[in-house]
Symmetry: C2
Subunit: 323 residues, 2 copies
């Protein structure tokens, strides 16, 4: 069956016509969140019509993935800060414009559903997806379905404390997984290591592939250029300070994933988001550490493999079309 | 329908005939784990026959709750250290002896199921039960069913790290919820506070209600007598060292429960086990702290109430009968 999937983000809207996990046609436009919820929903509806084209009248429903906290039935986006949505009846308003039912879910939950049906965990009924981006998000699939919870969306994996009274998190709490395993946290820790180690290869790695030698770039510019790859790049060159940053990053992520394994016992754990592209230098030590930490791992109880998500930026559209 | 529920523990076996959450008849006997798995299962079967009596031939199935890690289908107890069970096909062996199908589940999961059907969370479809005993265990109900996971039982709530590289846990890891919120952890921290504060009322509270005045009991004896109530008792008298122990205990438990709220978004969180009997002096500050920590709490997203489990020692039998 052909269905319409919408991936609503803070900066862009993506819409796809999806059949059996394959995107037949897709389109995108800027979100323009500053214009208010009504304008954003108008834009989504227009893009849906454009992408669906002739097929629009054959469609019977659509799904939309959105950032933020949703009510349990998906009827309301209770809060999505970067969309300026507060108690926004997104699904109903989009449904009114399109003329057929629309279901809404948290975007990370959509991505997890897509990966469990057509991606890196195809065929698995119990899956945890952890996305390592600006923040740490994720979704949990239990028995083939999104773990939704009561009242509002479950699966806020990033806001699990690993270090009581540790680093401050965006959610107001301290020591969350997000405060250690997001790209933002990795950048913070890379900069700290640079300040502490003026001779570290981190400074060169931060310079990037520019022609200008490191010496020509001012210190502030190098610190500004640090991103989630910097520490991994310098660690690959054998730099001790960079290796320490990477090890601490992997350790925190392993503690978080071991918690999720103990709680959910999924068949697979998937990593998505920018940092997941580091591949084996991230995945191999991570898997080894999770095996040592997770309950029963040391005595041979099966620990789920940790793999990269494979649907990338399409996961949100494909998952939304499955709602 | 009348069903048989078995609650297998490290020291005792309990069996009940259960109808609609009511125990019609029950019996118990020692486990005698040292005699080996075969002998234990023989004992369970004999007790089942005794409790069921005339009803035995009208029964079509039974359920059993057991400590330890089970395979996903409940067919095998992979490991239950205090029962000396290793890869023990408990359900099949009991079924062979009784002549009808038997389903097995982790005991804490059984208790959570019972509480969600007939106890403190009756009518709730999403529930987290945290048991605060010698260890910290628990069970999670998602959509009215036990969260089972793949490979083996999910819901190992006690083995969620709250403090990377913190206090050592029985599971071999550091900083688990169990290492801060179990009675064992509370006793450890109470003793530490006593050593640090020779004049604290904790010493008197540890003495208990004996006729002997505190001074007559040797220091080692007082330290030996510390239990999970000691700090709560002395805190009620306004003792500063005791209050600090209680506050730290509640803080760690609140961090753990906030994590569980963010992950599962249940309708209710229940507390069971010995420490839960402290009641309001535990529950009220705990609920307040969880509301401040859980994602969205400070901006008014509903945070589940925290209540005491009500089925007590019967929860295991009642839950097993529901399997």
């Amino acid at each position: 069956m052909i269905r319409l999937g919408v991936d609503l983000g803070g900066t862009g809207i993506k819409v796809g016509l999806v059949e059996n996990g394959r995107i037949l046609k897709k389109g995108s436009c800027p979100t323009g969140a500053a214009d208010g919820a009504e304008a954003v929903i108008d834009r989504i509806a227009a893009l849906c019509r454009e992408v669906a084209g002739e097929k629009l009248k054959t469609l019977s429903s659509a799904g939309i993935g959105t950032p933020g906290v949703l009510s349990a039935d998906g009827g309301e986006v209770i809060l999505a800060a970067n969309l300026n949505f507060v108690h926004t009846p997104l699904a109903a308003e989009l449904s009114r414009r399109l003329g057929f039912p629309v279901r809404a879910e948290n975007d990370a939950n959509c991505a997890a559903l897509a990966e469990s049906k057509f991606g890196a965990a195809a065929g698995c009924r119990n899956v945890v997806l952890v996305t390592l981006g600006t923040g740490v998000g994720g979704g949990v699939i239990v028995g083939g379905e999104i773990l939704s919870g009561a009242h509002c969306s479950a699966g806020e994996l990033g806001h699990m404390t690993l270090a009581m009274d540790g680093e401050r998190c965006t959610c107001g709490r301290r020591g969350c997984l997000e405060a250690y395993a997001s790209a933002t946290a990795l950048v913070r820790d890379t900069r700290r290591a640079m300040e502490a180690h003026p001779d570290s290869a981190l400074w060169r790695a931060a310079g990037g592939s520019e022609e200008l030698p490191r010496e020509e770039l001012p210190r502030e510019e190098l610190l500004r250029r640090v991103n989630g790859r910097t520490a991994f790049l310098a660690a690959r060159e054998g730099d001790a300070a960079a290796s320490a940053v990477v090890s601490a990053y992997i350790h925190a992520l392993a503690e978080g994933i071991a918690n999720l394994v103990n709680l959910f016992r999924p068949e697979k754990v998937l990593l998505g988001g920018g940092i997941s592209h580091e591949g084996d230098p991230l995945l191999l030590p991570l898997e080894e550490e999770v095996r040592a930490l997770a309950y029963g791992g040391p005595i041979g109880i099966p620990i789920p493999p940790i793999r990269r998500a494979t649907l990338g930026n399409d996961a949100g559209i494909i998952g939304a079309a499955l709602l």
